[in-house]
Symmetry: C2
């Protein structure tokens, strides 16, 4: 905010202030409304509400102070911006996020002890390096003395843990003597490999432990509520007998809870619960209901194809039947895989060539033909069912590509100039289409399915990381805003060579053209923080860049970011992916699932696990097979995943 | 080997050849001897022997060819050197290593599928990058066109997975347009974070699975052998009764198997086996013997201190007793921790200062005093027992430091010149002494104990990595030997500026002073391979360095190394450390241990787990407590660790 006095600037300032006041107001109304609805006692006992009120008050105070300072032309810091993401965590909708943060908080003490030991190890190695290398008169490549200041050595060794300055930090010592390489190798072995693995182990183990505890509490709460529900619905059938719930009230309940459940499905569930066919179930069987409803069963009714009802003679004719058989044949999939591969080669070729450009229309036509053929053979509602990920994927990509290609060629023929943006979209869509080929290889499919399954969890994780990023971005913007400026490629300003800051003249930061890595706005800050998460060159960005333009102590910001994001949060992410894959490998069905499956088998229905609907062959000849069941496996592990993955239970 | 014709060179060549022939001879004799000893049938069925014979033959053939080429002044490649480490794997002693390799080989198919999918992902992203960025006329900082060749893009993106060229590879696109950063962020998220975690998960899971299978086979073999042993020793006590082994023959057996076992220990084991005190045990109890012997029980006999037997009046006197109490007091440990911290500060200060230099003598005296005092109080055999790691550590470090310091000061006073090497050793020893302080903090102690426990396993792992490194070093030496030369700091040769190879003139490789990173000898190759394992800058070393001096295809070598070492082997290492820590967290005792503990408790003995002997307070007042037992926990997990960690079972 260098531009006070300027009219436009004043307007912008007023506008952002206005938006913020509006947001504050909305949140305040929300809290007041919530306080009116809920019991007063319960409202004040909930730390969430108190947290929100404190944050709102602090933000208001900050805004007033900032406004006053601004009016008096003083410099003010908007420190309350750091608190904003906490609002996101504390609203009712942020349940998953809150749970994740709570687990991290609980795991912190353990992580802290390992971190202390890790820092102790760095201190010891730094002391040894100082004693061994400090007095030898060695120099870095830029001529500065090598390893003479204890603080510098400590910092260099910390950076070496992240491997960002390897092998440069070792070279002067290694050039002087062979044996010093051993020092660095031992250091890397202990601190980079062993300690970082220990961090992963500790983070993994503790995060899992606390999350498991939370899940256990959830399960207990669910059980408790189910027992209470049983108390409400129970009837005494015979004198002195156990209280039971009759099928009628059970049916009523299930209809109320899940109105979309088909009758067949509901009856199946009842037959599992009421195993001995007594017309009523006891407490134990009733409590299972929630878990039973939680087992996902996909019912594929082999409904007649709409064309069959419209013109049965045509659809049942010999050529039509042959077509259906052809499309359902393995060769059909293989032919299209081949087409995709040929398409990949064509995409790689130069699209300026008119032959190649026109071939795109052929491929598009082939893909649309595939979808139409499949729609002819399979029932549309089955084809576009919720679980046929690849059918949806195909259709969306192909239709978008069709639209974009048409728009592009229309624009080209009308104005002889194609829009770069639309062309980019066309290219992306074309390449994305190629991904479909992985679905044809079974081994790939299982890996991809696991990845798709942990998708929602990664989104929750994304929220977590955005909260942390936002806080660091705000602090970073306060500290480094405007210190580094990016000039457009076309600019001829001499300041472009040193990112608009003479202090950067001749530094690696400017030489490597890193000017756009700055904290001038939120988006740049986020991208810079991603770069810092990737770790490489953070050393260069840090030293040559932000420390030069501000102060040497700026490195504290970067080290803190590394500790929190890379050591704690990224390890949780890795732990999460690991867990998801271990679950994939060691999945065991719950008793409930087994009994459900047994029941289905008794009823002579085909049980198929993870059947991709696209490949289901409809055996309409068997009248019994009107239900194909697709189980989603729920184990203790999966429960764990579920909690993070936003899938709630019927509590 | 450029120097043919030179006499010295000829001698060196002859010498290495001679050593190699000698080695070949030794191995051949070993194999022949083994073939004589063992049954002919069994010898030829063992793939190890066949492998060794093939390697020996190939090496001989290679040597003859090479010698002949050499004699005719032709260039020859010593390709058989790559096979050498396989000899190490195939000798009888390399059992652990063989097991590790077998597990890797079994895990490979699974890893391979994930790797294919990972490569597919890179291909798709590269294609998208080519389409999006190739036609925009962007340039790298050195002015070369940016992202125009498909192969180059693929390679750049592979390097980006290792994060070595982040964010440089992104900067031109990011500078051109904001949104391209999204492309790279998505790429990093999928390929660096998700895929690398999946690799870890797959490697971890498969390696563990196959190793578990191996352990299961071992346990089965053990059981089988124990049953056979039972068959030999069994007696029929009563008509029609079960066959049993009497205590007499059991005792004889145990004395034979473990002669060092104390009578008390043996009787304890018998009382666990013969729970009902019948004087004989059945098959089930007998088979347990191997596991029983495997449970480590540390017997601390509270023997009288040798001084007590020598001069009891002095040792039992009031001042002596007070001294014992003082040394055993918590404050004693705390005082010495304080001394260590003060020492740390002194080490950090300038040792040129005579006050500081002399203070070293004071600290040395204090440390020696500590050891002497402890030896006065504790029984020496207890103090130096096998399990008191820190006592050994302290004593060795302090005595070495004493010797080195005396040697150093004698040399200084006699020749007024101190040897740099001895001073280095003194410094290292001084700093190492400080590590002792971690033992005082309980939380640290558990972490350190886990690390010490996986120490032997890391050594087996070290063998594994050395075998792989050796193969790559040999190939690297054949490809890149002599291409890059290191000149000493003092050298004034103009070639020093470009590592003796004009092709490197002006490249980053030469500018960053990387000349010593070469493949000219085995040691340099190994250090370079460690740097490549750390991954950072491998891009620079590769591109600017070895590809420049040889050919662009040299990168295949570096990528292959990355795939094998970083993706496969390093992940096994991480999996190993993870497993060790999970075991630490989720250890549960075997039934056998529980029953052993119960028995000990019945006998009113104190059971202490993981008692560090240093801190055991000797309660000589209680006559019953002549055995303090220290259990080493063995679980299914630990079994797993054990196999890698070289701890054999009594098979």
């Amino acid at each position: 905010w260098k531009c006070y006095g300027h009219v436009l600037c004043y307007v912008v300032f007023q506008a952002t202030m206005l938006v913020e006041i509006l947001c504050l107001l909305i949140f305040t109304i929300r809290v007041i409304h919530y306080a009116k609805v809920i019991l007063r006692d319960k409202f004040w006992k909930d730390p969430k509400n108190i947290c929100i009120i404190v944050i709102l008050t602090l933000t208001l105070v900050d805004m007033i102070i900032y406004g006053a300072l601004k009016a008096a032309n003083y410099y003010g810091v908007r420190w309350s911006r750091v608190l904003r993401p906490l609002l996101l965590v504390n609203v009712t909708e942020g349940r998953q996020l809150r749970r994740a943060f709570r687990s991290i908080r609980n795991a912190l003490p353990q992580i802290f002890y390992v971190f202390l030991l890790f820092m102790f190890s760095i201190l010891i190695f730094a002391l040894m390096a100082l004693k061994l290398l400090g007095k030898r008169g060695l120099t870095n490549i830029n001529g500065t003395p090598y390893f003479t200041s204890y603080l510098e050595i400590m910092f260099d060794l910390y950076v070496l843990v992240t491997t960002a300055n390897s092998p440069d930090v070792m070279m002067p010592a290694y050039n002087a003597n062979f044996f010093f390489a051993v020092f660095f190798i031992v250091y890397i072995l202990i601190n980079t490999y062993i300690f970082m693995s220990v961090f992963l182990a500790v983070v993994y183990n503790n995060y899992k432990k606390y999350l498991k505890e939370e899940v256990r509490q959830l399960v207990r709460a669910k059980r408790h509520k189910m027992v209470r529900a049983f108390g409400v619905l129970q009837e005494q059938r015979e004198e002195g007998g156990e209280p039971v719930v009759t099928q009628a009230s059970w049916n009523q309940l299930v209809r109320l809870v899940q109105p979309n459940l088909s009758n067949a499905h509901r009856e199946l569930l009842w037959s599992v619960s009421d195993d001995k066919n007594q017309g009523a179930i006891g407490k134990v069987a009733f409590v299972q209901l929630a878990d039973l409803l939680n087992i996902e069963i996909i019912t594929i009714k082999s409904r007649p194809h709409p064309l069959q009802s419209l013109c049965p003679s045509l659809y049942q004719s010999a050529p039509s039947k042959l077509l259906c058989q052809l499309v359902q044949h393995r060769a059909f999939v293989m032919v299209y895989d081949l087409i995709i591969l040929v398409n990949a080669v064509f995409i790689g070729l130069d699209e300026e060539n008119p032959m190649i450009a026109n071939s795109e229309w052929v491929f598009l036509a082939l893909y649309i033909l595939e979808i139409l053929l499949k729609l002819y053979v399979f029932e549309p509602r089955v084809f576009f069912s919720k679980h046929s990920f690849w059918n949806w994927f195909d259709t969306v990509i192909v239709i978008s590509a069709l639209i974009a290609t048409i728009v592009n060629s229309v624009m080209k023929s009308s104005s002889h100039f194609s829009s770069r943006q639309i062309l980019d979209i066309v290219f992306i869509l074309r390449v994305l289409r190629l991904i479909r080929v992985v679905d044809s290889i079974k081994r790939f499919r299982t890996i991809i399915n696991t990845l798709i399954r942990i998708g929602p969890a990664i989104l929750t994780f994304g929220q977590l990381i955005i909260v942390v990023y936002y806080i660091f971005a705000m602090v970073g913007m306060e500290l480094f805003k405007g210190k580094v400026t990016f000039y457009e490629q076309s600019s001829t300003d001499p300041a472009k060579a040193y990112c608009g800051n003479p202090l950067l003249n001749g530094t690696d930061f400017a030489k490597l053209n890193y000017c756009k890595n700055n904290f001038n706005d939120v988006v740049s800050s986020f991208i810079l923080l991603v770069e810092l998460t990737v770790v490489n060159q953070w050393h260069d960005i840090l030293y040559s860049g932000f420390a030069t333009v501000t102060h040497i102590s700026a490195r504290i910001f970067f080290v803190l970011f590394h500790v929190i994001v890379v050591i704690v949060i990224l390890n949780i992410f890795v732990a999460f992916v690991l867990e998801a894959f271990f679950v994939e490998y060691s999945v065991d069905k719950s008793d409930l699932q087994t009994s459900l499956e047994r029941k289905i088998e008794e009823l002579e229905l085909a049980v198929a696990q993870y059947v991709t609907l696209q490949r289901v062959v409809h055996t309409s000849s068997s009248s019994l097979a009107d239900l194909t069941l697709n189980f989603k496996i729920t184990s203790q592990h999966f429960l764990l995943l579920c909690v993070i993955a936003n899938c709630y239970y019927i509590l």
